[in-house]
Symmetry: C2
Subunit: 293 residues, 2 copies
């Protein structure tokens, strides 16, 4: 039987091929294309696309149907990293141990590569021959809401405004919900939508997706305290250096770990409600909760 790691690696390969094909088909040779390919191929874990695929499979739908939206989602995630790394934003020189886009190219190219990936994501969905017009409209709409000024971009703005300021757990969760939670949620919900699940299943899956976003973020914060800097590709303790509010800082390390366990419980119970607890999707919850990078 295929292990979770094998599953993840298999779909990583498939997603990588499609991402590269999309960019090669929809751009002309030159610096903009090179810069887009550079960040797309910079070693992303493809968590979001794999969540789309695993959700489809949990509901026994052919995962091929989800490939275009999975790639569109990864393009948006990649664009957000390129823009977040810019000197005007987080000013990061390295990501996953490699020069960030603006270090490899320059700031202008990085801004344009981000803009291009964001725009391309909507082209990819609308040209998918596996999707009906109704599905395309739904997915473009949900993806734009999840990533736009009522989702990810809003979270990034509020995250920047809250730097050097100690905030409450409530506010911290609201920021993470927008900044990283919405896209993770979109991954699960787009899969469930394409799987044409019942309203009860959709509700259970929505609950699971919200918990997953928080699990993801708490683990991020925990890794910044006790992680391996080689594995995560950035120095340990950078949150504290940047005076960023985190779960361990608000709850203590043990409190943060307990909080994460609580959300893992919520997520797994949501899957049970809809009878999909013995699936890769369920394994992925534990995998994300215990990831080391």
């Amino acid at each position: 039987m295929e292990s979770l790691n094998e599953y993840v690696e298999r779909y990583k390969g498939i997603i990588n091929d499609h991402l590269n094909n999309y960019i090669l088909s929809y751009t002309t040779p030159g610096r903009l294309r090179e810069s887009m390919l550079y960040s797309i191929n910079a070693g992303g874990k493809r968590l979001r696309p794999i969540l789309v695929i695993a959700t489809l499979e949990a509901f026994e739908i052919d995962p091929k149907k989800g490939i275009p939206v999975a790639c569109a989602l990864e393009m948006i995630h990649t664009y957000s990293l390129i823009h977040d790394d810019l000197p005007a934003m987080d000013n990061d020189d390295l990501r996953r141990g490699q020069p960030t886009n603006h270090k490899q190219f320059d700031d202008a190219t990085a801004i344009l590569a981000g803009d291009a990936l964001l725009t391309l994501s909507f082209q990819v969905i609308t040209e998918a021959d596996t999707l009906s017009n109704e599905e395309k409209v739904f997915l473009v709409n949900e993806l734009s809401k999840a990533s736009g000024p009522s989702g990810m971009v809003d979270g990034q703005m509020r995250d920047m405004l809250s730097e050097n300021e100690w905030i409450t757990l409530r506010k911290l969760e609201a920021i993470h919900n927008s900044k990283t939670g919405q896209l993770l949620k979109f991954a699960i919900l787009s899969g469930a939508y394409l799987g044409k699940v019942s309203e009860e299943s959709m509700q259970a899956v929505t609950e699971m997706a919200s918990a997953l976003g928080l699990i993801f973020q708490i683990q991020d914060d925990i890794l910044d305290v006790i992680g391996d800097s080689d594995a995560i590709g950035k120095p340990i303790g950078s949150d504290e250096d940047n005076k960023k509010s985190t779960y361990p800082q608000l709850l203590g390390l043990e409190g943060a770990i307990n909080q994460k366990k609580h959300y893992v419980d919520v997520a797994q119970k949501s899957l049970e409600k809809t009878g999909i607890q013995h699936t890769v999707l369920s394994e992925l919850i534990d995998y994300l909760s215990n990831r080391d990078c």
Copy 2:
């Protein structure tokens, strides 16, 4: 009878109201919203939205149908100006005599406001209750192509790479076609598409739209030589100072004016072919050709 100026002013008001409503409905109060509203209300001429409307009216279709896509297009145009003005790109402090977005706010906010407007544009189209799913998919697809890595963003990249370099007329036209032509073309074509025009009309209108993009750009270049710096809101001669290739520089001022006249002729003849030469759309061609800002 309503004059062209009155027509333009009337629709400017309608478009402005809708743009502000969209942003107020789809964002939460705070710095991101303020920054988006600042640039949206910075005195844009709304040429692209008005071209959508005038095309619909030329084919006797209720212009209301075009309002969402007209606003989406203006959001994309506005985002492109915000990002182009950034220090990493053209580094402009003023636009239309007012501080650019990053001068009024800061670079990070300007990057995010641009990202937000770009993303919001696709949300606006997919939520339009005047459009069918088929129309929404068509418009999102065409708009993403016109503005993405095979359209506007590509043109901006190649324009930057060609700075401080004398280029041929052919290359100059190719850059302008991507950088400004594609969005202007989209304005006309989206109007004609929503007007469900015949294939011959669509072909004529496509010809007209291509000519219009060039008329627009040539006039831009001419204004940089003989314009009124107060009217255009930036100093005269900035193209030469920036060593930018322009029509007057490649063809001489008189040559550029003749080239523009040639394209006006092409554009007007295209309208005649489909019997819509006595329309506001036809008046707009002359208006754009002779605009002083």
